[in-house]
């Protein structure tokens, strides 16, 4: 169907699609560079004056900078930890004869079957009452958030990564073993390079989940480990909402996401395992 339509139509289709995707972001940007008065007087989508004050205000705010930093640290550590753990779990699930491994595999996903809100109270109690050493609590710590997101992301990551791992022919492990590789060398030299596209996808999806997560972060942090998504909500106050500042934060939070995507994207090269063994 696509092939028969003219290139013009094809182009129009994609322009339309890009427009639909990018328009809200443009809108956001427009709001972020307008003074508050303009927003409520003559709403317009034209970028006539560019007013950077929202950005200056937000970036000079130390609290916002801290939230941003927290978000970056938590998301990236979480994604790294989850990817490594999921890789090891999937290697074991795919390569070893574990008793009841399909049950284990299925069981991992069960905690994603209930809405996150169900876990709010138990987690709050655990973080404030149980996981404590002396005065120190897991509540409102970055490590606490990293571990928390692990419990949500790891099952999901295992499910994402398993097909990749199963898709790497077992003969390659065996060939490497006979060639003289230790288990670690098999993983490092053969399995890891071939699993890279899957690992990249897992990393991105986990990172995005942690980066965007609001509900748990809002409940289990107060100040020290507060993330930017929750910080954003602090601009909605009883006396009014600072739309301009919120929009500029939103634009700023897009930037790390873009950077992470562009860094990881080049690893997502499909079809790398082709030619390993003859089908």
């Amino acid at each position: 169907m696509m092939r028969q339509s003219s290139p013009i139509l094809y182009l129009v289709f994609w322009i339309l699609l890009s427009f639909l995707t990018l328009f809200p972001i443009y809108w956001l940007f427009v709001i972020s560079v307008k003074p508050a008065v303009d927003l409520f007087t003559t709403p317009s989508l034209i970028l006539d004056t560019v007013y950077w004050n929202n950005y200056v205000k937000v970036l000079s705010n130390e609290t916002i900078r801290r939230y941003m930093y927290n978000s970056l640290v938590i998301s990236t550590s979480n994604a790294a930890l989850v990817t490594v753990l999921a890789f090891m779990a999937c290697y074991a699930l795919s390569r070893f004869d574990l008793a009841g491994k399909e049950n284990i595999f299925f069981w991992t996903i069960t905690n994603r079957m209930a809405p996150a809100a169900v876990f709010l109270l138990p987690f709050f109690l655990l973080f404030t009452q149980v996981f404590t050493i002396g005065d120190w609590k897991l509540y409102d710590t970055k490590i606490g958030m990293v571990l928390l997101y692990c419990t949500f992301n790891l099952p999901f990551a295992i499910w994402t990564l398993r097909p990749t791992m199963d898709g790497i022919p077992k003969e390659l492990d065996e060939a490497a073993t006979v060639d003289g590789a230790t288990t670690w060398q098999v993983i490092h030299e053969v399995v890891f390079p071939l699993a890279r596209p899957g690992l990249a996808v897992t990393f991105i999806l986990t990172w995005v989940f942690a980066w965007n997560e609001f509900l748990l972060a809002a409940t289990l942090t107060s100040f020290n480990a507060r993330t930017i998504t929750t910080g954003l909500s602090e601009y909605v106050t009883t006396t009014g909402t600072e739309w301009g500042a919120m929009a500029s934060i939103a634009v700023i939070t897009l930037i790390p996401a873009l950077i992470i995507f562009s860094m990881v994207q080049r690893h997502i090269v499909a079809g790398l395992t082709f030619g390993a063994v003859k089908e």
Partner: protein, 353 residues
């Protein structure tokens, strides 16, 4: 290089036993072929020698050392897999050099050895390519190259040619044999193709259902098969079997089939009361005046040879002759059996008499 001994080796998967006490002695530098129908346990046995499969009972000995509990990486063996198992993210040169890299050899030594192996296998021009850019035959050669660069004690091959087309299979068969004559490395080669076994082996091990049926030189197996299974498996086209008895007639022994056909037996054969299986290879039957009258069912000329599917009375008999056959299906021709090349087996046990 080393000798290999397989002693009373048993393999069980849970309660399922697939290898039942196998014994094989492989001399230093020998080319041994494990052959048998699909599912008989050839790969399992080979993988136990490689260390990829645990040994449930018995011993595997490589170079005088029992290796049951030695990891594959420490057995100093090289294996070529049926589907090649090349590393797709490594170039041909990296694939071949990988075993040496793992041993921590210096780069220039690896490069030199890879180059030498590439010369032997005519892969020099392909060293920078990735496996997916190679043809099946080239991949096969790379897999062999990876095996030879490290100069192992033993080569293990698991049906290395079964993914190639018929013509390439013959070429590679010769190449592997040449390689063995040149390197003289002890080799264990698995195939289900009896022609590969006959043409390549110093010694053939015929397996069935996890048992060894017979071990011997190719021509020994052809000339003196130990039982009906080996007799039927080795040789192409397959041996004719006729069921019947050995009876004495006028002071001579003859074979009388269950359908009453009388066939000649080697001189000096004694009559016996137990029923027997009469075996004669198609190539040992000739068309000759004075032979037994047979009716042609089907003719299969291949150019060099003609296969005649015929019947003597009720008994089907297949002959392979060098001469062109002028007769047509439905006609009668005289078939003469070379009685000295008749094989007789006990019908109950299938064992050679």
């Amino acid at each position: 290089m080393a000798q290999v001994a397989v002693r009373n080796v048993v393999k069980k998967y849970g309660s399922l036993q697939v290898i039942h006490g196998v014994n094989i002695d492989i001399a230093d530098g020998e080319f041994v072929v494990l052959v048998g129908p699909s599912g008989c346990g050839k790969s399992t046995l080979l993988r136990m020698i490689a260390g990829l499969e645990r040994i449930s009972g018995g011993e595997v000995d490589i170079g005088g050392r029992v290796v049951n509990d030695v990891l594959p990486k420490d057995r100093d063996i090289a294996m070529v897999f049926q589907n090649y198992a090349l590393y797709p993210h490594k170039t041909v040169a990296e694939n071949m050099g990988f075993p040496l890299k793992l041993k921590g050899r210096p780069k220039d030594e690896i490069a030199a050895k890879v180059k030498k192996a590439a010369e032997i296998l005519a892969l020099e021009k392909l060293l920078d390519r990735y496996p997916k850019q190679l043809s099946g035959g080239q991949r096969q050669r790379v897999a062999m190259g990876r095996a030879i660069v490290r100069d192992p004690q033993v080569f293990l091959f698991d049906e290395p040619l079964s993914n190639l087309d018929a013509k390439l299979r013959v070429t590679m068969r010769v190449e592997i044999k040449e390689l063995h004559q040149r390197l003289k490395t002890t080799t264990v080669y698995v195939t289900h193709d009896q022609i590969e076994a006959m043409t390549m082996a110093d010694k053939i091990v015929v397996m069935r259902d996890g048992h060894v049926e017979q071990i011997g030189a190719p021509l020994d197996l052809y000339d003196r098969p130990a039982n009906t299974f080996v007799a039927g498996f080795i040789g192409s086209p397959a041996m004719n079997f006729v069921l019947g008895r050995l009876e004495g007639r006028d002071g001579e022994t003859v074979f009388v089939s269950d359908h009453g056909t009388v066939l000649p037996v080697p001189a000096g054969t004694a009559p016996r009361p137990e029923p027997v299986v009469y075996g004669i290879r198609p190539e040992h039957i000739d068309v000759r005046p004075g032979g037994i009258a047979a009716t042609i069912s089907v003719l299969e000329p291949t150019g060099s040879e003609t296969q005649i599917f015929a019947r003597i009375g009720e008994d089907p008999l297949n002959a392979a002759v060098r001469d062109r056959v002028a007769s047509r299906p439905g006609e009668t021709i005289p078939l003469s059996i070379d009685s000295q090349r008749v094989h007789l087996f006990d019908r109950q046990s299938g064992k050679r008499i």
